[in-house]
Amino acid sequence: MDRPSLVAALRARIGRLERAGAAAALARAQVSAIPLAPAIDRALADGGLARAALHEILAAEPGAATGFAALALARSGGTVLWIAPEPDAWPSGLKAYGLPPERLVLVRAPRPADALWAMEEALRCPAVTGALLDMEVADLTAARRLQLAAEAGGAIGLLLRPDTPSPGPTAALTRWRLAARPGEEGGAHHLGDPSWQAELLRGRGSRPQSWPVTWRASQDLLDIEGAVAAPPAVKRRRA
């Protein structure tokens, strides 16, 4: 075997060993990654947000991070848990991102130890497809436990944290920073579709990138500026 193919085979083997626990769970799921937008999916190693894994979202702005997280949870396709010391997720707003109230379960865990335990239990349950923990998890060991729990259960785990300039090491598969962006459409008296800046800070096999995105609820797609032109039905109004 020549050198490049040997290296490729070794890479594949290491990849399998690293995600060994996820193999059974991934085999259960029909789609192994949650699609976000074609341009973003191309940049991610798994072709989307990988299932059976933990992803970290630094919330530079609460609304943008919530919208992005709701989008990912909605596209996971099944029952979703939202765990926080005081959960304030509201189903009327989340419906616009595709997450219906019958799939959402809220969990109130004032103590950090209880919240981590609840997240682990939720990720291990095979019937749960997504779980979000809205809490600062500073302990790397705890985050690693959640990653292992996600691999065992097959759900996508999201860690929502407040934004910091130096986030430190992470056990999550990818790390994002979500900030709000002033929308280009709409005027002084009309808000258009919400616009965010989605920044991929870390990802296995991906380089850091940033995308200006807009959520088009009517078409259920995440539009990227400068990507394929929006369909003609959407009128862009300049103030």
Binding site: D88, A89, W90, S92, D114, P182, P194
Partner: protein
Amino acid sequence: MVEARRFLALSLADPARWGAFALRLSPLVSVQPPDLLLLDITGIAHLHGDEAGLLAAAEALFARHGVVAEGLVAHPPAAAMALRRAGLRGILAETAGPVAALDIAALPLDPPMQATLRQLGLRRVADLLRQPRAPLVRRFGAGIGLALDVLTGAASPALGFLRPPPLLAAKCDFLEPLTTAEAIAPALTALVADLCARLEAAGQGARRLTLRGFRADGRVQEMGLGLAQASRDVAHLARLLLPRIERLEPGPGFEHLSLGVLRAEPLGAVQAGFAGQGAAAEAAALAQLFDRLATRVQAWRLQPEPNHWPEHEARPIPPALLPASPITPPPGWPRPGRPTRLLRPAREIQAVALLPDAPPSLLRIGRQARRVRAAEGPERIAPAWWRDAAPSPRDYYRLEMEDGARLWVCRIGFGPAARWFLHGHL
């Protein structure tokens, strides 16, 4: 053949304190102040050999704790109690004779009525039973008739039992009292396995369990467990019960553990293979998850309501979804422009608006001043005016700030008295 009911009347000092302890002998215990415990022992006698064995075991159990207890086994229960209070002990197959010989003081009658009866020459229960009932009742009231019927067994007395009897129970005695959680855990697991085997044989699943630990000092520790979905899965029940051992106080140690099923539901046979697929398996897995989460945290789903008031647009309901009552949003739900996060309570902020009913142009949240770039609104939401003490109407604005952040802000009141609140993030 219907088995005749048998009752054990135990007289001892302070029956209220030893009532729960007597649950070790029988599931149906009634405290009869000031000095009696009444146990329903129908069908239990064979566990101790025969009724004599049961009586000896009961008296010995109390004697071990330094309580002098004397018992009488008889039927009906009121006769057993009256005869025990009159001093009889042992086992009585038939009570008509001894009851007839009782003095009328054994009946729950007022002293004036008793004095009148003695004056009339009716000193024994036999005398009263010989009298025609109707004139007796007409003279002394219906109470005397009921008391006589209860004593002879023609009517059943109103007995209040301490605890509801379990449908199934698994029990275990220990030679050495258990004091540590590590010792209690395997015993509890064995009880759960025994109980689940019997539930399977009966085709039932448990919904409500009760665990009772009888301590070596005569006190009883109890713990209950409820399940969202009927289950007889040994691993699931053990995982729910074992952490709760921490809440028990063994004190000098548990001599006897009893695990009972208070409520059960029919549960069909579950196929052992291919258990991972299917909507029913998913629902079962979710129900087990919610059972486990309920031990440490609170979980709920939100049911959409046809209510325009923002805080009441959705109502919390238990998380286990029943197939008979799914969550369906009412038509027109949700209203457009609602936030993804609703702050509770709403945060008071300062805002500057150019006109009284115009959207704000500047917000001061905490110490930060932020300029408003675009605004939609106002959306006036008025409360239910037909209720007393309704809050004031609110004008909601959807604001986009300079940096792109979107906020759901409301104003209560007008002009200088206006108050602004940040109610949510969009």
